[in-house]
Symmetry: C2
Subunit: 250 residues, 2 copies
Amino acid sequence: MLRASPKAQAMNDIEESDYLASYDLRCYDIPMVSVDAALFTFHEDVIKILLVQRQNHPDKGKWGLPGGFVDKHKDRHLEDTVLRKIQEKTGVVPPYIEQLQSFGSANRDKRDWSITICYSALISYQSCAPHISTVADAAWVNLKTVARRALAFDHQSLIAHARERLRQKALYSVVPGYALPEKFTFPELQKLHEALIGKPLQKRSFRRRIEAANLLEDTGEKRSEKGPPAILYRLRKNSAQFTFNRNLEE
Amino acid sequence: MLRASPKAQAMNDIEESDYLASYDLRCYDIPMVSVDAALFTFHEDVIKILLVQRQNHPDKGKWGLPGGFVDKHKDRHLEDTVLRKIQEKTGVVPPYIEQLQSFGSANRDKRDWSITICYSALISYQSCAPHISTVADAAWVNLKTVARRALAFDHQSLIAHARERLRQKALYSVVPGYALPEKFTFPELQKLHEALIGKPLQKRSFRRRIEAANLLEDTGEKRSEKGPPAILYRLRKNSAQFTFNRNLEE
DNA sequence: CCAATAGTGTCTGTTAGACATTATAGA
DNA sequence: TCTATAATGTCTAACAGACACTATTGG
């Protein structure tokens, strides 16, 4: 954009030299900017995070979070960039995404002063299984054990921040439910929250508050494994926006 | 950094061409990145936000949030940049700062695809009054009426986000207290929270929870205006980290 | 003394924790 | 029938809301 017509823009002002000076500054003295995503899911009672193997230098071959650079032509908003990157790796767009935090410092990338805008997203294991199973450079990793791996850049730190934020959400929202398949049971949602919080929850309290806030919709279907059949629910529209006034105990 | 020795870095790898290709990309096809700060204070029962008059194009002469570009030589971390910018305008470093959110899109700056990492900070009116009163290009503006002004870029939107976040903090923390002088009374803190939340609070509840969590330290001093003398408190260390398990009602 | 207001006593209502109980499936 | 477990009943504890009350200042 700028490059296409720097003069046309500058002509409107008197200080064309100022304008061009700041333009030059941009090219030589600015930090790198990228976008990363911590994408979580819940499968077989385990919280997992998506890692991808880097195809480019630096840290080529190392595993890290999916991410990349804004494409000024393809992306209108920052979120477009992350969603594009996630879709490239999983084949689908996640039903929940939020901006986590930006991390910027002189030393987080050995090349240069670097900034990443990190997002956190949730998706069902099933919805991306078809795509991920066909590629070798993307894999779900157990969140409990990911800390033991050597990851690219400061991605270990980004994951720690994302996990903590998600843990908080488990205390005052039903947002974690977006890591489940579209239809799920109350005990499944509770197991997920328990895994995030790291301690067992009272099922009476857990159900009561979610029912009182009317966050789930009964699908009319049931599923039975061991024991009586459990009702299948789905998240209601806008249930991601709802926050309880009171946290579950940590 | 990169520009100083791109070859030295690339020599370690086989794919020097790849490396340089991505380097070129950085110069031509990357978005602008800046940092902005929503700095709040509380003075004479009014929440105020610091606005500065832009000295450069675009939007020269318009008012907006203080901010600017990362200086790769001066700044080690993103927060250094914001604190430097705030200090330039107020003469002091605020006792509380947190990252709010990053905003990036193709159209938030008419020049180019642009990203800003926006911070929210709090400071006492008194601590920056000496500096601000001497300059013409920085001023405290009533947060209630700031929405009626025409501000630079999307700063009106950034302010709305920052205000909402601060309102939430008033419901479950004592963070707003950093907008007060070092020593303050309980009724002063309550007035601030009430202004943020937009409705009166029960003083019994307000005091009770803060005392139970031991967030304030009695300075031993008192102040009296109309009525009996009020105890002067200060925020304890780490009181910004504490969050109540239960929100005040909205 | 009076108005203003800092600070407390205390009752109520809401909601999470704890845990027993009932009900319904598969083996 | 037996085990696992989904779903509910119900008591308690914690804490915010409401509001009356006391106490202490300046005018």
